[in-house]
């Protein structure tokens, strides 16, 4: 109960901090619109309304993913700069529990990215996305946010051990767009890429969101997405102690 309360309170405070930063704010407002514009121009060539809806949803999840992949690394880096990382490690809560609300907060910003992209598509490009199953759509978005939070947690734990690993956050941003079928269907990718796609939650989250919006059945995709999210959390929890032990032995926690 106390852990749930901790997650809730610190998720709220995390969102407060994100919303109070003018630079983060402008980035979060404008960034998804650039993705969406690029995707719409690329897909406009196809002239099919269904393709544009496909692109609109893809661009929305691209924004969600970018928010997590780039921000999870920089969030850890910020904790180092602020001198708060040592305070978090010196606290009695399990460190993975301390990090989770922070990455979940970033994934939550992704919901705004999704909404902004769809509205941008509607007003700037005239793309009307009609959601067929609203409830399933909302569940799919929520499930994807949770799974992204789990993946962000796994990233964040490794960023604690490797100081320069925040660069990897940026590195992972674009390949996932392709590998997880956010921009183009997976069927167009070489067969050897698919196993990589299958272990990445964005693949299944994207499928679930598209299926629920376009009238398919998203349940299996959503369950796999949530399952993978849980697996990321489990791996992060398991490696956290080892990562911290190593950082304490090397004395790297106070370095910026």
């Amino acid at each position: 109960m106390s852990s749930l309360r901790f997650i809730g309170v610190s998720w709220l405070l995390q969102l407060k901090m994100i919303m109070r930063s003018p630079f983060d704010g402008i980035g979060n407002v404008l960034y998804p619109l650039f993705f969406a514009t690029t995707a719409f121009f690329v897909f406009q060539a196809g002239r099919s309304p269904r393709t544009l809806v496909y692109a609109a949803l893809g661009a929305a999840v691209m924004g969600m993913w970018s928010s997590v992949s780039t921000s999870a690394g920089s969030a850890m880096q910020r904790e180092r700069w602020w001198g708060t990382l040592e305070l978090l490690v010196a606290a009695p809560r399990h460190f993975s529990l301390v990090l989770f609300p922070s990455t979940l907060g970033l994934a939550t910003v992704g919901i705004y990215n999704l909404a902004a992209t769809l509205l941008w598509g509607r007003f700037a490009f005239g793309i009307h996305v009609t959601i067929v199953h609203w409830l399933l759509f909302c569940l799919s978005v929520g499930g994807t946010v949770l799974a992204f939070g789990g993946l962000g947690l796994l990233f964040a734990v490794s960023f604690v051990r490797f100081r320069a690993a925040w660069v990897l956050g940026n590195f992972f941003e674009y390949p996932v767009w392709l590998i997880c079928g956010l921009l183009v269907p997976l069927a167009l990718l070489p067969a050897w890429v698919r196993p990589i796609s299958w272990v990445l939650a964005p693949t299944w989250g994207m499928n679930a969101i598209r299926q629920s919006a376009l009238g398919g059945s998203p349940v299996n995709d959503l369950l796999i997405c949530l399952g993978l999210g849980l697996a990321y959390v489990a791996i992060a929890v398991l490696v956290t102690d080892r990562v911290l032990q190593d950082a304490r032995a090397r004395g790297t926690l106070s370095l910026t």
């Binding site: 106390s2 309360r5 901790f6 309170v9 610190s10 405070l13 407060k16 901090m17 109070r20 930063s21 602020w82 001198g83 708060t84 040592e86 305070l87 978090l88 490690v89 010196a90 606290a91 009695p92 809560r93 301390v98 032990q245 304490r248 032995a249 090397r250 004395g251 926690l253 106070s254």
Partner: protein, 321 residues
């Protein structure tokens, strides 16, 4: 049972030199120190920058694993029982870092109250009490980025006390504070032992350690060079005489040559505007004024005086040995 116990505590760091031909180098930050702090005691770890104070404190609060030796806090091993140790100690460090600047002081405390598992029903009352104690009442809903250094420092103290820890580690808590802020901070620290807390304080201000601590260990280059009550430490260096010579443009190497004179206990140079003051501590029975002047290579000399040793001289003598 001692509240804090360190036995042959040692910590080395690996660092690298060179870019193309990288060479690993090992730096010994703490060289096997031992000390014990009794429950309710305010113990000072006094030493210059880089002496090993912060490294020692970080081993005791479980942020660093000792290279060898052992340490116990409230009878718990800091490596094996790290989780339980964290639950029962508080940690406060000096400076402006360690605060979530975009959150208010109140939200900072609320977050750390959750982090330390302070029960929800007690949080509000506890935070209010601590805001009162550190004098941040009425400013608690402002963002911490607008706080002065002193206010941030007081916020740190409130954070360290949220879960009512039995042992408190204060790492240079008055660093960079103005005289009024530093005095207020010292009075807050003094009130902690009055409330029964065990406190380990690191500082490089002799007068601060003298005013606050029951016992002091002087640490220099990773070793404890003296330990005792402030009075005992002062007595240890009372047997010296201090010669002060005002010099305009002290020659390179002169300090080392003076230090090599028979009868010299310690030498320090203080900058005073255009001049430097050579402070030479000598054994009381020797008269070295002429010998010291002879080593200054004809530099312009101003006022020469002899005085009794102060607390600062005691400290200098210990850390320069």
């Amino acid at each position: 049972m001692a509240a804090i116990e360190a036995a042959n505590l040692r910590r080395t760091y690996k660092t690298h030199t060179g870019t193309v031909r990288r060479r690993a180098k090992e730096i010994e930050a703490v060289r096997g120190i031992s000390f014990a702090v009794e429950p309710g005691e305010l113990f000072g770890l006094l030493g210059p920058n880089g002496a090993g104070k912060t490294t020692t404190i970080k081993m005791l609060i479980t942020l660093l694993i000792p290279t060898s030796g052992s340490a116990r806090v409230l009878g718990l091993d800091v490596v094996r029982d790290a989780h339980e140790v964290r639950r029962r100690i508080g940690y406060v460090f000096g400076g402006e870092r360690g605060v979530y600047e975009r959150l208010s002081g109140y939200d900072n405390l609320r977050y750390f109250a959750e982090l330390y598992g302070v029960p929800a029903r007690d949080q509000k009352r506890r935070i209010e009490e601590l805001l009162d104690l550190v004098g941040l009442k009425d400013r608690e809903h402002e963002r911490a980025e607008g706080y002065s250094r002193g206010m941030k420092q007081r916020l740190h103290v409130a954070r360290g006390l949220l879960h009512d820890p039995e042992v408190l580690f204060l790492d240079e808590p008055t660093i960079g504070l103005d005289p009024v802020g530093a005095r207020e901070m010292r009075s807050t620290i003094a009130s902690l032992t009055a409330a029964g807390k065990t406190v380990l304080l690191t500082t490089h201000y002799m007068f601060e350690a003298d005013a606050l601590c029951d016992r002091i260990a002087v640490i220099s280059k990773g070793d404890i060079v003296a330990e005792g009550t402030p009075l005992e430490l002062k007595r240890g260096v009372a047997e010296v005489s201090v010669l002060e010579i005002e010099v305009f443009g002290i020659a390179e190497g002169a300090t080392e040559r003076v230090r090599g004179l028979d009868g010299v206990v310690a030498v320090a140079v203080e900058e005073r505007g255009q001049a430097q003051v050579l402070v030479v501590q000598t054994r009381p029975e020797v008269e070295l004024t002429h010998a010291v002047l002879g080593h200054l290579n004809g530099a312009d000399v101003g006022r020469i005086s002899r005085r009794e040793p102060t607390l600062e001289d005691a400290y200098v003598a210990l850390v320069k040995e």
